[in-house]
């Protein structure tokens, strides 16, 4: 239940604020993923968690471990860099795939209607 070590008050307060606000922002993003009506709107919502939420929680982790070890611990920055670089790539490929699939479906529907008109 208890965290591993005792850290001073100021880093502890910063850790608490950043951790909880990052979790709240991530929850808002995931809730948007659940509630928004169309796919192209839904794609935007989780990026709240992958940018601001990740930045807040990773900053909390950096501050906590730096205060715990009395030295600067920066290896968590790797996660920020990785997530910030990779999320736009994966979502761009995904939206291109979705547009292709929607376009293919529309073509199919219109050609189907065309055929029915001839009949």
């Amino acid at each position: 239940m208890n965290p591993a070590g005792e850290i001073p008050a100021l880093p502890a307060i910063l850790t608490v604020v950043l951790l909880v606000s990052g979790a709240v922002v991530t929850l808002i993003g995931s809730f948007g993923l659940l509630r928004l009506p169309s796919f192209y709107e839904r794609v935007h919502a989780p990026t709240l968690g992958t940018t601001l939420g990740t930045a807040c929680i990773v900053s909390a982790s950096i501050i906590y471990f730096s205060a715990l070890g009395n030295r600067l611990v920066l290896h968590e920055l790797l996660i920020i860099v990785l997530v910030t670089v990779t999320t736009p790539i994966s979502l761009m490929v995904l939206v291109r795939a979705a547009r292709l699939r929607d376009g293919a479906e529309d073509d199919e529907i219109s050609s189907h209607k065309e055929r029915n008109k001839h009949l």
């Binding site: 591993a4 951790l19 709240v24 991530t26 659940l34 796919f39 929680i57 982790s61 790539i89 699939r101």
Partner: protein, 92 residues
């Protein structure tokens, strides 16, 4: 101070668990395949953040390495799924 930190870590873990539940419901409901892939993308990012919160709770850096691996493999699998939806095959 330590008690406040412990409770805030618990609160953050509960909130991230709710976020993972939202993403899981989107995976189950998702009317089409791309909705499920977006839900999966959000699910692994939330799991990574949950692991970081576990790392703060236990004070060990092992969880950081697990979170890094989740981020890497999650990106690769999302791109592979999106490529499959785009072309019908992953490696051409």
């Amino acid at each position: 101070m330590s008690i406040m930190l412990a409770w805030s870590i618990t609160a953050a873990q509960i909130l991230l668990g709710c976020a993972m539940a939202c993403a899981a419901i989107r995976i189950l409901w998702g009317p089409r395949a791309q909705d499920r892939v977006v839900g999966f993308d959000s699910l692994y990012v939330n799991a990574m953040l949950l692991l970081l919160a576990f790392g703060i709770r236990t004070g060990s850096t092992l969880y950081f390495e697990a979170a890094l691996i989740i981020a890497l493999l999650g990106f690769v699998s999302t791109v592979a799924l999106a490529k499959f939806l785009l072309r019908g095959e992953v490696i051409e």
